[in-house]
Symmetry: C2
């Protein structure tokens, strides 16, 4: 039995409820579908045609439809002109939003308890590397989550989408890994990545064993795009240092994830201890109760930002550092995206959003 | 004023006590010495001739002696045949031990309160990358510490030294960064790295501004050695993705360091809560009180290993994972280096070392 089949069977063993499989037609998702199909009876395939590569996109769609017909699995397709929809916004995040919205919709329609995507250990390693290069804290090192419990309905698209180039946006939108980790499970349906411990080599081995063809996205080989350069230049170089570098990076992501949970728990307690009654719309924190751990203060501020629904997308690595600085220093003030201001005076840290 | 001078003056401003500067003769340590010499009156230089490169090593020593004479700074030199001393053991860790022992000795002799080494942000980035590639948890991501408070006398050398090749050991022993982070300040003297926020480019700029020559270790260009390949192949490639990748990696090390402190504190509390009275030489932990956070259990076990003085050098990434597994599962046992055994039965986790 191939490694893919073993991992997928382990996943399916405890999930007999109907599920949705996201299938692009590429190697990873085709292997996931074939493996799930051997051990799970209630599958629906969801495919999004982003209309980004003309006839090739249509051929991907046809390939997925044919594969599903051959397997006797229902196939639902959404065709969206993502370029038009994005209208100059970040194409990558628009495409990702469209995908996960559609997966959620299909899950709701067919009464599925879960959605599975085919992200592999290689995707995980690439994501971790991408963030390492771009600059990240512990938060970002967690990479792609192996699962997400049911979340509220997909949030509305965010404007801007950070400092990435359009090129990168296009590149990432064409392929599965959501680098920014914003994948969203549907109302009531959880999101799973059963192949996250499986390498791309394992996937290819599985497909070869099944004599199963798959589609190749030719833009994946275009090394002008950051993600493709990580895959085709950086990872091969790293493998000359350590052939098991993918597992080194995925283990690190696991550790970062575990550490993050510890820190978020501690930061939640810190915030509860430090917060005083609001003065009108102004949040008041006791600077002494915040303590001196920059790590915990940073995590507590993140929790506060999330709770208040303040814009996070413009909160870069440096912006968080400035916020921590204001909290730690005895005086000072700083403005943040979305009209959020922070002021430290004596023992009091005040935060508010201009309305 | 160059960035090096600014950073060094900030460091020296609060440290008027006598200090020791470790100078190999390379660009980083020569820049550190020249910068410190402009703002600190009570310096002693310490140089170790490892006798690893014959005449070139002797020429390095002569260069450092001449520079000190020109600056009017006392220079103390230790010449050690490190290859003979290591006698087949890890050359790198032997060389590092010899260096830090000598720095400590000089600090004690001249009554210095601190020892400064010239590790830069580039060394930090290389260390972080080296560990990322080899496989590391949060622990290793912390990289090189900016300072170490006084520590107990230098520990005796450890046998073995892990899975590194002799080649790598030689390469690393020739150059400053202690990849394994075992640098040791002396009894009463603290260890500082005032250039840890300064890049190698800043160092070269500083030396150019002073028209100050320095020695080049030609083995640094030998890309057969892992560390040199990280410097000469990997880092340049990463800089094509992000020119500021060095600062991205050093910031990550800072975050990992901060997070590590939070986790160690929480793990210390966890251990105190979970530990029961010893049964003879057997340590007894309440499995329920250990909780379910793999991150905290791992950190608590590390604290226990350190406290008991059990051998850590053979405790690889995988060995710690096995230890966590035994603690988390309801039953099981495992042996670890140095005759340490761990057994989980019902609510009790027992640990002991065969004597």
């Amino acid at each position: 039995m191939t490694r893919v089949l073993r991992e997928v069977r382990r996943f399916a063993a405890t999930r007999s409820e109907p599920g949705v499989v996201a299938v692009s037609g590429g190697a990873d998702s085709v292997a996931l579908l074939r493996a799930l199909h051997t051990c799970h009876a209630a599958l629906t395939v969801a495919h999004v045609n982003h209309q980004l590569r003309g006839e090739e996109s249509d051929a991907d769609e046809a390939f997925v439809r044919d594969l599903c017909a051959a397997l006797g699995v229902e196939c639902r397709v959404r065709s969206v002109d993502v370029t038009a929809l994005a209208a100059g916004d970040n194409l990558e995040s628009t495409a990702r939003r469209v995908r996960y919205e559609f997966f959620t919709e299909v899950a709701n329609e067919v009464g599925a308890a879960w959605v599975a995507t085919a992200h592999t250990a290689d995707d995980q390693a690439e994501t971790v590397l991408h963030r390492l290069i771009r600059g990240t804290g512990l938060q970002g090192l967690r990479g792609i989550a192996a699962e997400r419990q049911p979340l509220p309905p997909t949030p509305s698209p965010k404007k801007g989408g950070g400092a990435r180039t359009e090129e990168e946006a296009i590149a990432s939108s064409l392929a599965p890994p959501p680098f920014l980790g914003e994948g969203v499970g549907g109302r009531g349906s959880s999101l799973f990545r059963p192949l996250l411990a499986v390498t791309r080599a394992d996937v290819i081995e599985c497909l070869a064993a099944l004599n199963q063809p798959y589609r190749t996205d030719r833009t994946n080989a275009d090394t002008r795009f950051t993600r493709n350069r990580i895959r085709h230049e950086l990872l091969p170089l790293l493998k000359t240092f350590n052939p098991d570098v993918v597992s080194a990076l995925t283990h690190l992501a696991d550790h970062a994830n575990e550490a993050h949970q510890v820190i978020v728990t501690a930061a939640g307690e810190l915030l509860a201890n430090a917060e005083r009654p609001r003065a009108a719309h102004v949040i008041v924190l006791d600077a002494l109760a915040l303590g001196t751990s920059r790590c915990l203060i940073r995590a507590a501020l993140r929790l506060l930002w999330e709770r208040e629904g303040w814009p996070m997308s413009g909160m870069t690595f440096d912006a968080w550092e400035r916020a921590v600085e204001v909290a730690c220093r005895n005086a000072g003030a700083c403005d943040f995206p979305g009209g959020v201001t922070m002021r430290h005076s004596g023992r009091v840290v005040q935060l508010s959003q201009r309305t």
